[in-house]
């Protein structure tokens, strides 16, 4: 008896993908290998993507260890100001913030490793604490986008008719606003007003705004995919067996959408982290006294040219993080679904 490989729907696409992406190696694939392990094989061979995935993990771990670094190595809190203090660098005693208000640059020692900011705070400690906030906003926003984007796309594509009409028009309206302008509008309004019990200055407000802005980018492709899926034979078969609409969506549709959904996660995460910084730079994102990479870059830019390391340090960290998510996501897409037209933007 022949071994059946993976879900009937995924099988053909995946084997085509192999031909398209890896026509170079004539390696014979053993029979009976599922699409997920195929994807994992392909991802494992993509060393660049794996390397950058590792870089992102490293950033996450470092940021999570922020309190440990603050407490045991730098011995200074993220908000501890020290304008009048001095520090010994290479035997010389130097002001942390000089008399004319220029903060010290990177000392490359455990104290003020990456220098100080205008208030004499330790940039390295703030970088890790701010990173926690930036990543938290990015992750929460991504969860919101993926949850509601998938749900909207699934309902619109499955029920069609009026449901589709209403959902699609709502998505059109969100879509018609440029992402940054919609973010600013909602961010400004909600920062003052708050969302229900949430106070306007909490981190959750920018996270919800950013998550909301990207919903159409996920919902539209999912809807298109569901529209074609629902015409497939296995959906008919499920209906014949007496499965309800929501059972079909959950157990028949969702597994087939999984690769698209997974591919979108890094893409949305990267853009959410970027949008957080952008909104904060424009005054509609993270509100003081919270710190994020966005607030740090903004404070640094306001003080150009006095202490450019205040811009460079969080900026480089932000670019490294977003870049690693993007490159890993690109590799993930190649591995899961080489033909997918998944992209952010119009």
């Amino acid at each position: 008896m022949a071994t059946i490989s993976g879900p009937a729907s995924g099988g053909t696409e995946f084997s085509e993908g192999i031909d398209a992406g890896f026509s170079g190696d004539g390696q014979e694939l053993p029979p009976g290998i599922g699409p997920w392990s195929l994807a994992w094989r392909r991802l494992r061979r993509n060393k660049v993507a794996l390397f950058f995935g590792g870089v992102f993990l490293l950033v996450v771990v470092l940021c999570l260890l922020g309190p440990v670094y603050s407490h045991d190595i730098a011995h200074i809190g993220p908000d501890t100001e020290n304008i009048t203090g001095t520090i010994k660098v290479g035997g010389k005693t130097e002001d942390i913030v000089s008399l004319i208000g220029i903060p010290i640059g990177p000392t490359w020692t455990s104290h003020y490793l990456l220098g100080a900011d205008l208030e004499g705070r330790d940039v390295a400690v703030r970088l890790l604490y701010g990173g926690r906030n930036s990543l938290e906003i990015g992750v929460v926003a991504t969860l919101i986008t993926m949850l509601f984007g998938t749900l909207a796309g699934l309902l619109a594509g499955y029920f069609r008719g009026i449901t589709d009409g209403i959902i699609s028009r709502i998505l059109d309206v969100i879509w018609a606003y440029p992402a940054v302008l919609l973010g600013i509008t909602l961010g400004t309004v909600l920062a003052i007003r708050g969302i229900g019990p949430l106070h306007g200055t909490t981190l959750m407000v920018p996270a919800i705004v950013i998550g909301f802005v990207y919903i159409p980018y996920v919902a539209r492709p999912i809807r298109a995919q569901v529209l074609t899926l629902r015409e497939r034979e296995f959906i008919d078969a499920a209906r014949q067996q007496g499965l309800g609409n929501f059972q079909i969506m959950w157990s028949e549709m969702l597994p087939n959408l999984a690769s698209t959904i997974i591919v979108f996660v890094p893409l949305i995460l990267a853009n959410a982290i970027l949008l957080e910084a952008a909104l904060t730079f424009l005054g509609a994102g993270v509100q003081p006294p919270n710190a994020s990479w966005g607030t740090m870059i903004t404070e640094g830019i306001d003080n150009i040219p006095a202490a450019f390391h205040n811009v460079l340090v969080p900026g480089i960290m932000l670019v490294i993080t977003v870049l690693s998510v993007n490159i890993f996501g690109d590799g993930l897409r190649d591995a899961l679904d080489p033909r997918a037209k998944v992209r952010i933007g119009r």
Binding site: R169, D172, V173, A278, F281, P305, G315, L318, D330
Partner: protein, 317 residues
């Protein structure tokens, strides 16, 4: 075709109406900026004066009348900022010069560069040239414009003294200075789009290469170069041009807000940013509505042009 155009126009009009209603609702109903009349009257005003202003600006009327009045004022150029007292439309007009210069210049740069980069990456797909271009494109899409702008201003402007430190010089005042002042902003804005567009073009070309008509073109003996330019590129560029139209509309409508702000160009985008700072709702509302209008209008135009160029789309809808 005519039916397609009419349908698209109807959708557009409804969309525009909904957008204005939502924007108005967000700013006027949801945002409790206090009594706008009290805000205009100032701290020392008597209740009678506040009431007078309230009547004059129409704050005492029902909300739907206020909506209609506000829309009429915005579109006829009669809207005045409650904070600064300036005419909102002439404020936007004043910023349009800088914004248009930035948008069109950068638009040309990012379109041409990404066609070159995307084609090169697709032709060399899988080789080192492609890998390097891919990483560069990724760096481009991962770079926040305000960070790149700040780095350019500091190292190339302040340290090396090669580019001027921000601000905008109108084309009519001094074309040479206009050009020099816009070099860094153009570059900053383009980087983001080049990264994105070249990736899109690369994958579109790779898809097109497998089309039957490309095989036919090769089979009838055309040179590789002719196949690439006349058959592959010509068809792959359709989605790129559509995208370009939409993005340009966004940038003109204030979407280049980050680039404008970091280079202090005083364009429409920066006006939007300043309006947020002082909670100037009327100005911000006008910008958001006009941008959405530009995006929706150009979106419709692009759809129609797209459908004209590629008949397969008409069948989809």
């Amino acid at each position: 075709m005519a039916r397609f155009v009419v349908r698209r126009l109807l959708v557009m009009i409804v969309l525009l109406f909904v957008i204005t209603v939502i924007t108005f609702a967000l700013f006027i109903v949801v945002l409790p900026s206090g009594n706008p009349a009290a805000l205009i009257a100032g701290r020392l005003a008597t209740p009678a004066e506040v009431h007078l202003i309230s009547v004059r600006y129409g704050f005492d009327k029902p909300i739907y009348i206020q909506y209609l009045d506000t829309m009429k004022n915005i579109f006829t150029g009669q809207a005045y900022s409650y904070q600064s007292g300036f005419n909102v439309l002439s404020e936007i007009e004043a910023g349009m010069g800088a914004t248009l210069s930035l948008a069109l210049g950068a638009g040309i740069i990012w379109l041409l560069t990404s066609i070159l980069v995307g084609t090169l990456a697709a032709v060399k797909a899988g080789r080192y040239t492609d890998r390097i271009l891919t990483v560069l494109a990724m760096v481009g899409v991962s770079m926040p414009p305000f960070f790149l702008g700040a780095v350019l201003l500091y190292f190339v402007g302040y340290k090396a003294n090669i580019i001027p430190l921000a601000n905008y010089v109108p084309l009519t005042t001094n074309p040479v200075q206009w050009f020099i002042h816009l070099l860094a902003p153009w570059f900053t804005l383009s980087v983001l789009f080049i990264g994105f567009y070249s990736r899109v073009l690369r994958s579109t070309i790779l898809d097109t290469i497998n089309e039957d008509y490309v095989r036919t073109a090769r089979a009838k003996g055309l040179s590789e170069r002719q196949v690439l330019v006349r058959h592959i590129l010509r068809n792959s560029l359709i989605p790129i041009i559509s995208l370009w139209g939409l993005d340009l509309a966004q940038v003109i409508g204030g979407g280049a807000i980050l680039t404008e702000t970091v280079f202090n160009l005083h364009g429409v985008g920066q006006l939007a940013r300043d309006s947020i700072g002082r909670l100037d709702t009327i100005t911000l509302m006008a910008i958001v509505i006009l941008t959405a209008l530009a995006v929706v209008l150009l979106g419709a135009v692009v759809d129609v042009v797209h459908a004209y160029l590629d008949p397969r789309i008409r069948l989809d809808t």
